[in-house]
Chain length 422, copies 2
């Protein structure tokens, strides 16, 4: 495609095809959707050569373009990774079908029965970066939830994504579902993204999966709803009624189990009453692991080797081996700190006090609020959603890890016996 008029026409064509096939998907049986997922998995496993060859071309082009090793690693497909992709498709096939579930069906005084039925959103647009396995994951979640999908991966994985799309189409065809139910955008031009997020007549929701830059760009340009995931400045508050062992283990795990994830603790809050008891041992354990500490004045009185935290530290998502530590007076001060500096992602309290645990859970306005557990559990698999298309830091429509249910809506169903309104 040579110019933006061509790209717009191309995207509109994808949009129309997606809208058409979304009607068929809305009515597709659970059996047909699962058969398509199984057939995709079988196709990926049976015939890997074309996909591996396409991936080698992506890798070569990436090396030439000077991509760093971490990015190249994320881009690379191996037989094991393809098997994992196929396994992911089969796991989604094994999840309960959310479509058609009815809740709260009840008789009204007029005699009609009213309930809410879960239904697909329609067409989902997903914009993501280098990992090609997202193509299969996203296709599976959209299909299982009865939505048509338009997928736009990173340009560095374009050949791999196109090859995966062949397997997806084969699976759809094998199950008798429209091949256009999942479409992969064939151009890497940015104008395609700008059009994708601004055609509400064809697309019902956009899910961007990637760095802050991508998400901010999409949010700015979008005229359709966006399920967005901004940053995670997550807290653990060690209350003065915390169990000592739990407090230390959770703090260490929430910071160090993995550094680069959004549910990693970035700031530790410690009640003044236990700071003197907990911080020295904690400082030693974190120091041994190689975590740099940045503390408030009261922290540094107990941990002289900690650097002085600046105001900026309280608002920073380090995504690395750095931890901000603040000693606070009590639960209220901790909650105020979280309210002011948190990103409403995931926050935890460690306490044995019943009423304080209840106050923290009710009062902290974050997508996940935890008692006596590591923030690292905030994840679709750990929560039992089976798979995750993203984590929403918004409050509208869906909050926290987004699984199949987040890709659906509810309509009212009414069963009558000839009732009319008087």
């Amino acid at each position: 495609m040579e110019n933006s008029t061509d790209i717009q026409a191309y995207m509109d064509e994808l949009g129309r095809a997606a809208r058409r096939s979304s009607r068929a998907l809305n009515r597709a049986s659970t059996g047909d959707k699962n058969a398509a997922l199984e057939a995709m998995a079988a196709s990926l496993e049976a015939d890997q050569e074309a996909l591996l060859a396409a991936n080698r071309e992506d890798l070569a082009a990436g090396r030439e373009a000077g991509l760093d090793e971490a990015l190249l690693d994320r881009l690379e497909l191996t037989p094991d990774r393809i098997a994992a992709m196929a396994e992911g498709l089969r796991q989604v096939a094994g999840l309960p079908d959310p479509v058609g579930a009815v809740r709260d069906l009840a008789r009204r005084p007029s005699g009609i029965e009213v309930g809410k039925m879960r239904v697909p959103l329609g067409v989902v647009g997903i914009i993501y970066e280098s990992r090609p396995n997202v193509t299969a994951d996203a296709a599976a979640l959209c299909l299982k939830s009865g939505n048509a999908a338009i997928l736009r991966g990173g340009s560095e994985a374009a050949r791999s994504n196109a090859a995966i799309a062949d397997h997806i189409r084969a699976g759809l065809a094998a199950a008798g579902l429209p091949e256009e139910a999942v479409q992969v955008v064939a151009t890497t031009d940015r104008a395609a993204v700008e059009r994708l997020v601004a055609m509400p007549e064809y697309v019902d929701v956009i899910v961007p999966r990637g760095g802050k830059g991508l998400i901010e760009m999409v949010s700015r340009k979008a005229s359709v709803p966006v399920i967005k995931h901004l940053h995670g400045v997550c807290h653990v508050y060690l209350d003065d009624r915390a169990d000592r062992r739990r407090a230390l283990d959770i703090a260490v795990n929430a910071k160090t189990q993995r550094y680069g994830t959004c549910n990693t603790m970035e700031t530790l809050l410690v009640a003044e009453g236990v700071a003197g008891d907990l911080l020295p041992e904690l400082g030693q354990r974190l120091g041994e692991i190689g975590v740099e500490l940045r503390g408030c004045e009261r922290t540094r009185a107990l941990l002289p080797h900690a650097h002085a935290a600046t105001d900026e530290d309280w608002d920073t998502e380090y995504l690395g081996p750095v931890l901000a530590i603040r000693v606070v007076d009590d639960l209220d001060a901790a909650m105020d700190h979280i309210d002011e500096h948190g990103s409403r992602h995931t926050d935890a309290i460690v306490t044995e006090d019943y009423s304080r645990a209840r106050r923290f859970v009710a009062g902290v306005d974050s997508s996940s609020v935890m008692v006596n557990a590591s923030t690292r559990f905030a994840d679709g698999f750990e929560y039992g959603l089976g798979a995750e298309i993203g984590i929403s830091t918004d409050k509208f429509h869906v909050r926290g890890p987004v699984g199949l249910e987040g890709l659906t809506s509810e309509k009212f169903v009414v069963y009558g016996d000839g009732q009319v309104r008087t």
Copy 2:
């Protein structure tokens, strides 16, 4: 306020105050919220003079400005209407508090327990037109659902709305809740609306209640989510396995019980197999009531007095005594027509056929789908929501009549016993 800089500063001040008070409301007890609603109702009933005087001023200014009688009637408050407003507040006090309800709490393999807790959205902005009772209704629904509210009524009701706001503040104060939990915008400048819909730092969702022009303007300017209600082109399909009596009664009721409402039927679809039996009697009944009929050719062969329908008729929300009628081959043709011409608001089938009823319910993508009941039932009170802040024709977040639940979101709550992730 003299210029747009002043108005922006004023709106920002309202926004900051709303955000502050939303934190208190999030934690407010059900008892305190109900006490505030009861106190508002008592205040409205005890002291009506200032409100009636303000309303007389609005009416006089409206007459001077040449408002038509229908608008003046909607604007007018009487002791009876004030009593109904107070009764509405008490009804909301009687509804279950949605905040804090936890569903699906279940133990995961790691040992943590994970569930979803219903929480307020935060700050709700409501923009509405002439009826001043919306001020009390909207305040009540926002308060009960734990949200702070910024209300912007029509300029023609400005004095009445300000007087109602005094009672709302009195009620909040009586219950010890922040008076800024409900704020009524004091300027009628349109710049205030434009700012209200574009301050995501202070406002979490906008609900416009009014005509198409208002809703389109708000949608165009908004940078925060909008719960919007566009038009209702509602259908009733009379299947050839319909019960004759039910078919006739539902068709007449759906069209004529009230003309100006969004859930009124605008197009009747009739299966060819029963058109000859049903249409003559139906044409006679509707003719007696004074409904103008516009039919397809097959309809006009049976109802010679019907006008010829044009393509435009199938897409028109008449909001008046006009009905489009189309004879269709079968259920599939009816569903295709609804898919192409409907507005995804409310559609009904009349049939005694089990499988067709199921296919219609599953396959029609509208916010309310009905079997053997009049479309006029699509309403928050009839559905048992207790009250309604609007009807959403979107799919994202909430569809159909919006009650307290539509003003909330869900966060994940996690209860552990010291679990860490491995």
